[in-house]
Subunit: 203 residues, 2 copies
């Protein structure tokens, strides 16, 4: 993770804008040998692939760009604030990345040391309940679909990739993952399994 | 507004569920003379019309039900909490509805009297700024669309109806509407005009 800045420099890639005046160096990055283009930032990669290879199935169907971006924003709003408090100090990191986290994250979250980010007891339980409430809101949305397990019903889209990528991260790092798997009738365990089974080699 | 409960009873319509254990009596309600069905709740009406008259343009294209519901939820999250504090005591109501508001709203918002809902000065300015921040988030989403002024680019959908219905309400009741019209390069004034021009007779 701390090595990404130099990788971006080597690839001559501009940093990704996050908020006004803040940029970051994100993965994944792809280089397409047939065009020579190098692209970072997941959504830009998806749009590039959809546009460059129009005869393959699109992850963002025509007319759905804003709705799918909006869904990603909604999913983040419903989960990320609580999730990040639960997972931040629990992520399995290599030594270099751990050092980077220890150096940068306390200031980012306004606490004295990295250890202070570890949430326990009552405070932790409260964030778990808030995460559950956020996921309940998304689960209710799935119910409006008549058929199909995907956000777009029977058609896979980038919205499902957003959900599965989050769940994959949680499944590997969130101590409460076993509990999450039981929420909303097992929806989240199923969503991750479905994607792992069908597209596991891509993820 | 206080007469809606008796109208629902007369039409033999069940109240609309809002949250667990809370129901309400909403407008619009339609009766379709060709099928004899009576339906309330905007989204259910749209789905009924799309399904019953499949040869007319759909407001919710196939596969977009959850994404459009999600957009409505996101738009509400970005605006409604602040908006309701700004507009609640300013709505132009007939005498019966005003009486209903005066009776029910103080308890709903946890204040002693209806007059206490009137937000002024610094507190009001803060809510205006929060509403602006929420709309900035939605405006940024529009930017990901290449072509077209609609949420789905060049295709009108129920998502645009959600936005326009909100803007119409604000334009008639929100004291700061003239200010809102100048935000995000005039996007909100244009969105309402576009819908008023093209579909004004329906709205």
């Amino acid at each position: 993770m701390p090595d990404l800045e130099s990788l971006y420099a080597k690839l001559d890639l501009p940093a990704v804008p996050m908020h006004t005046n803040v940029t970051y160096h994100s993965v994944p990055i792809i280089t397409d040998p047939s065009t020579g283009r190098t692209i970072s930032e997941s959504l830009d990669i998806v749009r590039y692939l959809d546009e460059t290879y129009p005869s393959t199935p699109r992850l963002i169907p025509e007319g759905n760009t804003m709705l799918i971006h909006g869904f990603a924003m909604l999913f983040a709003k419903q989960t990320f604030g609580h999730l990040v408090m639960l997972i931040m100090s629990e992520c399995k990191l290599n030594e270099a990345s751990l050092g980077f986290y220890e150096k940068t994250r306390p200031a980012y979250f306004g606490v004295p040391t990295y250890a202070d980010l570890k949430l326990t007891g009552e405070a932790r339980r409260k964030e778990v309940e808030s995460l559950k409430a956020g996921l309940d809101g998304i689960a209710k949305l799935y119910e409006v679909n008549g058929k199909g397990e995907y956000v777009m019903g029977e058609r896979l889209s980038y919205a499902d990739v957003v959900v599965a990528a989050m769940l994959k991260w949680w499944s590997l790092n969130l101590p409460e993952w076993e509990e999450v798997k039981g929420w909303n009738g097992g929806r989240w365990a199923r969503a991750l399994e479905l994607m792992d089974e069908k597209y596991g080699q891509v993820l």
